[in-house]
Amino acid sequence: MRDYLMLLLGTALVNNVVLVKFLGLCPFMGVSKKLDSALGMGLATTFVLTLTAVASWLLEHYLLAPLDIGFLRILSFILVIAAVVQFTEMVVRKTSPVLYQVLGIFLPLITTNCAVLGVALLNIQQEYDFLHSALFGFGSALGFTLVMVIFAGIRERLALMSVPEAFAGVPIAFISAGILSLAFMGFAGLNTH
């Protein structure tokens, strides 16, 4: 129990996928202008990441490893990710047309989100068992959502302030992301092993 909790905490905070591993920066910068869309994106990515972590683990252990076709790993993972994202798109379109409209092109772009493929591959690399892989995926996604929401809140406030023209918009956002990353380094002292 404690083991699983520590894993979740570790992936969400200590080894945060966006601010420590620097994966998934594309939606991080692209959808974080408004709090609602950031939350929506975070939840969609959580759905995709968890499903992908599970599916890719199953794929690895019941197809790729037994048949010793490990060289097809990246190809098959992308296939699975694309299918899951398609599925997610359909669900979002049905349940929340506004969110679908707001996320726009960034929803299908979750396919190319390096965080998703990265987590799937890391699972294999770290040789986790099924439950650990699922939790790793879920924890990373939680960390991603958390950071998206925090960053969106910061960006909404930044938009109201009188930022010097040269820095207004994306430059000041990147600087804030850097400072946020520095802040998350504080979690490095958290012993999760």
Binding site: K33, D36, A83, V91, V102, G104
Partner: protein, 181 residues
């Protein structure tokens, strides 16, 4: 052997995923984008055409498709622009919205010939009159779309700015460039 396994397994995977997606597509089918309906309901609905689209529904469709900006509707003004922007998470530059002086149409009674062409085109029935009778504009209902001015043969209809009185005077926005506004 290897290669056969590889090809077969990937084909199987592809087919399986394809099937699942097909089934899901049927289950999650969405008829029309209900968002367009929602946006259309927010519009004034007078089909005046000032936005450049032939009516409020095409304008709503264009907005949803991302082809139009939220400031497209002059009768809606800044209020509607802000609502649309917050609903669709669009960026708007309200400063660019030229706060048009509110106008109202007026019939110059000396030259009106009672041809009734104007009240046929008025989208809100704001013009009252009968054939061969002098027409008049009900100022409250007029939305200043300008259609009546276009069709009037004697040019007796004109758009006039609404006068500012003590009742509709408002404080101006403080213009503070130095304060970083």
């Amino acid at each position: 052997m290897y290669i056969l396994f590889a090809v077969l397994s990937l084909t199987a995977l592809g087919l399986a995923l394809g099937f699942m997606l097909g089934a899901a597509a049927r289950y999650f089918k969405v008829e029309d984008n209900p968002l367009v309906d929602e946006i259309e309901r927010m519009m004034p609905g007078s089909q005046c055409g000032q936005c450049g689209y032939p009516g409020c529904r095409p304008a709503a469709e264009a907005l949803v498709a991302g082809q139009a900006s939220a400031t497209l509707c002059p009768p809606g003004g800044k209020a509607l622009a802000e609502q649309l922007a917050s609903k669709l998470a669009l960026e708007i530059d309200l400063a660019g919205v030229k706060e048009q002086v509110p106008m109202v149409a007026r019939v110059s009674e000396a030259t009106c010939i009672g041809c009734t062409r104007c009240f046929k085109v008025c989208p809100t029935d704001a013009i009252v009159g009968a054939p061969k009778q002098i027409h008049a504009v009900v100022a409250d209902a007029c939305i200043a779309c300008g259609k009546c001015v276009e069709v009037c043969p004697t040019e007796c209809l004109g758009m006039h700015p609404i006068k500012t009185t003590l009742r509709n005077w408002r404080w101006a926005k403080p213009d503070l460039a130095a304060a970083g506004a």
